[in-house]
């Protein structure tokens, strides 16, 4: 009894206090109000679950070839038909989710891990450091990304891990360039001038005034980055240099379909739909995050 009294007193006291609002809480509330963001969250969650539980969802193994049943149109037995060696397209698409998500998240993690420190250094330190980093960025951008990835994969061989490395080597450029550009532009803003006039040190200005303002753009960049990496993997596999057979990759399925799809439309339609849906899901989700964090966009 005494505990319940205490609890009620406490709750009354809590009610009297002004509501505590945190950046994260605000963002979560705004995110929950955004229907498209919730749709994105749902799509990404379904994709994640599909990737994790692929073994239970797929009706057939991804590599079970059956030449007698090659190139069948969708039927009750094979929902999305079979490919040129008689593998179940639906099962291969389910397993392909794993590959796509792993590459997307892996490449983005690598990109942020390299891009954020370099971007911060370039934008905050300036001078010779900035010059050096920007020339490094220039070197990497001057090499065609696809060609560099192809070269790297030719040297080190294909496979999931090497694909992530080959794409990550150039994926950090955007995050780095964006962060630097943001810092440079923010530095000229009046609130920074005001802070400086009030006697704030450079460190304080960087931590309190510049960095918080770069979070939202970085989220946008990362959002665009995950689907971009998924797209890049699909592209490499499309050309036959990414994920090795018989591991299913949506891009490889599209690439293989090119010579058949003018008749066997299902080979072209389903893998491209899988790619498109995945990209859209991540984009909705990321855009929702951005809008949620960036309160000023929501007025």
């Amino acid at each position: 009894m005494s505990t319940s009294t205490l609890a009620s007193v406490q709750s009354r006291q809590l009610q009297d206090l002004p509501k505590q609002r945190t950046l994260l809480g605000d963002a979560a509330r705004r995110f929950a109000r955004n229907k498209l963001a919730l749709l994105g969250l749902a799509m990404v969650s379904i994709l994640l679950l599909t990737a994790i539980f692929a073994d239970f969802i797929a009706p057939y193994p991804y590599d079970a070839a059956n030449p007698a049943k090659a190139l069948q149109f969708p039927s009750r037995e094979h929902w999305m038909g079979t490919d040129e060696v008689g593998r179940d397209v639906y099962s291969r698409i389910i397993y392909g989710t794993r590959i796509s998500l792993t590459v997307g998240v892996g490449v983005m993690a690598m990109a942020l891990l390299i891009g954020i420190p370099l971007g911060l250094l370039a934008g905050l330190a300036g001078g010779a450091v900035d010059y050096f980093i920007m020339r490094l960025v220039e070197v990497f951008t001057a090499v065609p990304a696809l060609m560099l990835a192809l070269l790297l994969l030719s040297v080190f061989g294909g496979g999931l891990f090497n694909v992530i490395l080959a794409l990550g080597v150039v994926a950090w450029l955007d995050a780095c360039r964006l962060l630097r550009a943001q810092l440079l532009s923010l530095r000229e803003r009046d609130f920074v001038l005001a802070a400086r006039m009030l006697g704030a040190t450079s460190t304080r200005i960087a931590v309190r005034h510049l960095l918080p303002n770069t979070v939202a753009p970085l989220i946008v960049a990362a959002t665009i980055g995950i689907p971009t990496a998924i797209f890049a993997e699909a592209g490499l596999s499309f050309l036959g240099l990414g994920i090795n057979d018989p591991i299913p990759s949506w891009g490889k399925m599209v690439g293989n379909a090119l010579s058949y799809m003018r008749v066997y439309w299902h080979l072209g339609v389903f893998p491209t739909l899988a790619i498109a849906i995945t990209m859209l899901g991540f984009t909705f989700f990321g855009d929702g995050l951005r809008d949620a964090f960036d309160a000023s966009m929501n007025r």
């Binding site: 220039e138 001057a142 060609m147 030719s154 532009s185 699909a234 379909a257 966009m297």
Partner: protein, 310 residues
């Protein structure tokens, strides 16, 4: 300005040098050579002859210096894939095709994107905005080869409006250009919308409105000009990719462009062609990068190229 340009030029040359060394080493690190048995059936003697003819039997450093020396004199060698012509000839034959689709795509994408983005921002949170944003999201997120496959399935296979193959007539340009233009158009529309909305809330726009300028004047003179700044960063990297050809679009629509050589050169260990393509892209990219930086100072006088004079 002259001093800045000179500095940048030196920087570009240094970048070229580093890029060429890295690519040269990487491509020679790929296992197998252009005249290995899996590529062409040659006797050991014939292979040795070829290797000697193209200097492939010399040490790497010597090969590099030889190549660069020739390249500086305008001789980029002979593509191993098609030894009857020169690398320059091959590029001169195929690049215009790629560049024309890419250029057309840009010409379509930019004005359309700007228009859609401005419309969406002006009519924020109406159906115009939602429709534009939906199209933009689709264009940005769905890869162009997916769009290309859909275009083929819909317009060539299902409706039979456009040819599935061949090259030369205007009909052959429609689908590749559309597939290429969608992404830059969508990017332009999205960023135009976002930055217009952002700029619209700034103090100087409020000031402009307070002093009685019309909406149109504010849009053109204050909003659009400032909204262009982030757009430059976003669009500039698209340009080299577009005009140097994309392998995906070109292979789906069977366009006889430069795109496929980015892959076949590596597969065939076609060293002269790999180096030439790399240099070509590096040149185009450096030019675009330099022009973008200069454009920054035009649209945003706050950005200074040289160190601010104190």
């Amino acid at each position: 300005m002259a001093r800045y340009l000179f500095g940048r030029l030196v920087g570009v040359l240094v970048v070229f040098f580093i890029v060429s060394v890295v690519i040269f080493l990487l491509m020679h690190a790929i296992p197998g050579g252009p005249y290995n048995e899996d590529k062409v059936p040659l006797s050991a003697e014939a292979k040795a002859n070829y290797m000697r003819k193209y200097g492939l039997d010399r040490p790497l450093v010597e090969q590099y210096l030889l190549y660069m020396g020739n390249a500086l004199r305008g001789d980029f060698g002979v593509p191993f894939q098609s030894p009857t012509e020169t690398v320059s000839g091959l590029i001169a034959r195929t690049w215009p095709v790629s560049a024309s689709i890419g250029g057309l795509a840009l010409l379509v994408a930019l004005p359309l994107g700007l228009l859609l983005g401005t419309l969406a921002a002006a009519r924020q949170n109406t159906w115009v905005d939602y429709l534009t944003s939906a199209t933009a999201t689709l264009g940005i997120t769905v890869p162009n080869f997916v769009i290309a496959v859909w275009l083929v399935l819909l317009f060539a296979v299902q409706l039979k409006w456009l040819p599935t193959g061949g090259w030369g007539q205007w009909q052959h340009y429609v689908m590749p250009v559309a597939a290429l233009a969608l992404a830059p158009m969508a990017l332009t529309a999205r960023y135009t919308r976002t930055s217009i909305l952002e700029v619209s809330r700034s103090d100087y726009v409020r000031t402009a409105r307070a002093k009685g300028l019309s909406d149109r004047q504010i849009m053109v003179r204050h909003v659009l000009r400032n909204a262009m700044i982030p757009l430059l960063t976003i669009l500039a990297p698209q340009i080299p990719n577009l005009i140097t050809g994309t392998i995906f679009i070109e292979s789906i629509f069977r366009v006889p462009g430069l795109g496929k050589f980015f892959v076949t050169s590596i597969l065939a260990r076609d060293y002269p062609m790999i180096m030439a393509l790399m240099l070509l892209v590096a040149v185009v990219w450096s030019l675009v990068y330099l022009v973008t930086d200069i454009l920054y100072t035009v649209v945003d006088p706050r950005v200074r190229l040289e160190k601010s004079r104190t």
